[in-house]
């Protein structure tokens, strides 16, 4: 492979990382807004949030991407830059998955904590901000870490729309060299390294957040990942599938 082709791959990595960052940001916001809305006391709010989740979880991410690229522009008369179209489709889809994580973690906080907040006459906002979220967020990190890797894998889909991400650069190199085994092996390895780095970052974050509420990080027998030194008392709930 020549240096020119490597430059192409580097550009692809940069696009993939940007897309991953923006869609993770949008997905995170959507997860929290929709997830918290699903624990709201008004049924209509819960219903709408649940409806959003089921619709966006129900379709395929690739179909959402097609929809945002091809149906939105003529329907509303404006066209998004590919980067934002990709961000929108991925963020909304993976946000729907994330909202389930947020809801689950909020529901798993001991009800006595919420009741304590009520007894101390905290407002609902204060209860969420000061009591529920600080205890729920550390529990969300392991599933969010998995979702982030799924999102990274999802970013490859935009290459079908011709966006010059890592997977797309692989196709270009294949066309240039008329040889595919080498370049696709490299592309897969690069994705794997990015996924590995993401998992490591999320594990560090989990450790810090759990230390903040006096818990040890969840123990997971995953290969190529350091095992936590301590088991601690009451170390997290067992990892769900």
């Amino acid at each position: 492979m020549t240096s020119g082709l490597w430059e192409l791959v580097l550009k692809g990595i940069w696009i993939t990382v940007q897309l991953l960052f923006f869609s993770a940001l949008l997905g995170g916001v959507v997860s929290f807004v929709v997830g918290i809305a699903r624990t709201h006391r008004l049924w209509i709010v819960r219903f709408l949030a649940g409806f959003y989740t089921e619709v966006f979880r129900g379709t395929s991410a690739l179909i959402m991407i097609f929809w945002v690229f091809f149906v939105l522009p003529p329907a509303f008369g404006w066209q998004l830059v590919p980067m934002w179209a990709g961000t929108l489709a991925l963020g909304l889809t993976y946000g729907a998955y994330g909202s389930e994580i947020v809801r689950g973690a909020l529901n798993s906080v001991d009800p006595a904590q919420r009741e304590g907040g009520i007894a101390l006459s905290f407002t609902p906002m204060q209860r969420m901000r000061l009591i529920l979220l600080p205890q729920a967020v550390p529990e969300m990190i392991p599933p969010f870490s998995n979702l982030l890797v799924e999102l990274l894998k999802g970013t490859a889909l935009v290459s079908i729309m011709g966006m010059g991400d890592l997977a797309f650069s692989g196709n270009l190199v294949r066309l240039a060299l008329q040889e595919s085994a080498e370049i696709y092996t490299y592309i897969l390895l690069i994705y794997f390294v990015i996924a590995f780095l993401l998992t490591r970052i999320m594990r560090g974050l989990e450790k810090r957040l759990k230390a903040g509420i006096g818990k040890a990080p969840e123990r997971r027998g995953k290969l190529a990942m350091p095992r936590p030194e301590t088991t601690g008392v009451g170390a997290g709930a067992g990892g769900g599938a």
């Binding site: 690739l62 890797v149 294949r174 595919s180 085994a181 897969l188």
Partner: protein, 216 residues
């Protein structure tokens, strides 16, 4: 926003063709992933680390890299090695292989969930290893994991549109072909989007019901 019911009517015959292909890919992919996942899960329990370690690395690698690139890999690289499959076969194998690395974890959890007393009883009854697995451990383990496997089938359904990228005419492939020939994108894409929800939402309700029944 213009909505053309005639376009929907024109698209429907293609839609049914695409649905058939999607469901075929889903069923075959599921079967491969169920079988291969069990093989991985059993290999991960092998006494030798020279078996466990490579299997662990390979499956971790497959799980953490995009299915789309794996599809391209199989589609473009295998012919270079003089192995030629149809696009559909390649796609089914890729999906089955990718999801086997997920189902393997499901099986592992199911096997670990079988109480230790069952193993001890099998030893006490002097059952051979083979019979311990087929008559005692697996029937109990698989019963617990059916809903989780079902959820991966739903995930797989949502990944079948990727096969379009290697020229398979699944639902999305048919929709794109129709859209390009008639310059109508809104109707076919919306029809298949709704179709996916109509299939996957009841399926996920079914899995939740199964979970309540089977997992205790």
């Amino acid at each position: 926003m213009k909505w053309d019911w005639d376009a929907v009517g024109d698209f429907m015959p293609h839609f049914w063709d695409g649905l058939l292909v999607t469901l075929q890919a889903l069923v075959l992919g599921s079967l491969i992933s169920f079988a291969l996942g069990l093989v991985w899960a059993l290999l991960m329990r092998a006494p030798s680390r020279w078996v466990r370690w490579p299997v662990g690395v390979v499956t971790e690698f497959i799980r953490n890299t995009p299915l789309l690139v794996q599809l391209f890999f199989l589609f473009y690289v295998l012919p270079e090695w003089e192995i030629t499959f149809s696009a559909m076969t390649t796609g089914v194998v890729a999906i089955g292989l990718h999801y086997s690395t997920y189902t393997m974890q499901v099986y592992r959890a199911g096997i670990e969930g079988v109480p230790a007393g069952q193993w001890e009883a099998a030893t006490a009854l002097n059952l051979p290893m083979r019979r311990t697995w087929t008559a005692v451990i697996l029937p109990q383990a698989i019963r617990r994991v059916v809903p989780a496997l079902g959820n991966y089938v739903i995930s797989m359904l949502k990944d079948t549109p990727l096969l379009m990228a290697i020229t398979v005419l699944d639902m999305l492939g048919e929709a794109r072909l129709f859209a390009q020939q008639n310059f109508q994108f809104t109707e076919p894409l919306t029809v298949i989007g709704v179709a996916f929800i109509l299939i996957s939402y009841p399926a996920s309700l079914l899995m939740r019901a199964l979970e309540r029944r089977l997992v205790r």
